[in-house]
Point group: C2
Chain length 110, copies 2
């Protein structure tokens, strides 16, 4: 059977989603949300991830837009949560591959 990348609109959507994951600041945000077992306010995210307020706002908007994070306003503050298990599975897959590659290249040097 054909790959899941059926048509070109799917290609565009998927590239947007992967593109959202392809930035260190946004990954720090996702790490903050994954490590905290509860929703975080935007301020909390910014503090844990080490980003300015405006910067965190922009990156969170991006993650919400592509559907990796949910946005939940309560009164004055907005709480964000990662989409599970999608986000953790993606990170685990890629992290596993990265450390495997690192191990292999380490062994190759001995």
């Amino acid at each position: 059977m054909k790959s899941a990348l059926a048509n070109d609109t799917m290609i565009d959507e998927v590239s947007c989603l992967f593109g959202a994951l392809g930035d260190a600041s946004r990954l720090k945000i996702l790490r903050a949300l994954l490590d905290a077992k509860e929703p975080l306010s935007q301020g909390g995210v910014a503090e844990v991830a080490g980003l300015s307020q405006a910067n965190a706002s922009k990156h969170l908007a991006c993650l919400v837009r592509v559907g990796l994070v949910t946005r939940n306003p309560e009164g004055n503050t907005v709480y964000f949560s990662p989409i599970l298990p999608l986000v953790s599975e993606l990170c685990d897959l890629v992290c596993g591959h990265v450390s495997d590659r690192a191990k292999a290249s380490y062994r190759a040097l001995r």
Copy 2:
């Protein structure tokens, strides 16, 4: 336990890998490699994906650099293959999520 995004070098590596996936041309290359059940030459990739020769060369180099594609020269031509099952799993995960979201937003309009 903590997320797999342990430290900042891991964040950088992972963002590079996701960034490589976050481009429509590179996804078309991966689709070409996944659909063809055999290694493709660079020219074959460029033709199937609809890219110029130089462009395909650059994108393929990017995919090889982050470890999503293997490079296998034979005589004058270079053959490329996707890293399985990593690439197909990542695409399937994200494609599934994208079509689920599309279905949900469709239902929400009725």
